[in-house]
Symmetry: C2
């Protein structure tokens, strides 16, 4: 038995798959025709991070599907976390997607500079919170930054 993947719900599967492949380097496991705009059918796009092996499934339900309920933001999904080599460069890329870091409640400003790491939070095109975590070179990594 094993934990196979994590599935998030998306409202535009082509946009979501482009976002995670182009910005974060995830690879599409299946299907081959994920770039085709979806029709009346539900669509599943399975992605995999080639470095860490983490698997993310994008689940799309058209309005006509029994699962095509209103997209309500909730609290069950806290965030997805990416370990980032160059936070500033990534934030620039995300700006091109119209996405900017959010101010957080527990520190000032959109980027948190702490001893040993820097972190920022950005919401993906569907509103899912992404943690972008950069280790400062030469500092001891925090546990959560250890290699998978």
């Amino acid at each position: 038995m094993y934990l196979s993947y994590f599935g998030i719900r998306v409202r535009d599967p082509v946009r979501a798959a482009r976002f995670y492949t182009e910005v974060f380097g995830l690879k599409v496991v299946t299907p081959d025709d994920w770039r085709t705009p979806p029709g009346e059918e539900a669509r599943v796009v399975l992605l995999r991070d080639p470095e860490s092996g983490q698997r993310l499934e994008l689940n799309y339900y058209p309005a006509a599907s029994p699962y095509g309920t209103a997209y309500v933001p909730g609290e069950e999904l806290d965030h997805l976390a990416f370990h980032v080599d160059h936070l500033d460069a990534l934030l620039k890329t995300l700006e091109g997607w119209g996405l900017r870091p959010e101010a957080m409640k527990h520190y000032e400003g959109p980027i948190h500079d702490a001893p040993g790491y820097r972190v920022a939070y950005v919401r993906d095109p569907d509103g899912v919170q992404l943690e972008l975590f950069e280790t400062v070179r030469g500092e001891a990594p925090k546990f959560r930054d250890e290699k998978y």
Copy 2:
């Protein structure tokens, strides 16, 4: 850069960590004292599946925390998927946690027997939907059942 882990929000971090370690065999990466009931502080428990390497973070925010907002079920997190060796035995274990498979909209009954696989959906103690996917021996696996 890599996708590091997936974080879900939980209302009782000890219960949630026990659930995923005892039922599904995930291992606690950190902290060592995860069995201690949480106090006024937020808690993070990082889990890892020893077989697939998938990492799940449990995020707990007490009411006093700036993030201790009401726990509202939403639609962003679709489901977590487990590949299961013995679905019936697992469902029996989950019954001991008071959890039973849900009737789904697209097939009849709580367990779906399809050519090559069987699948059931159960909600974890926080309401997160879990897909439990068993491949029938000797049948060709579906893509989603491929090894990570």
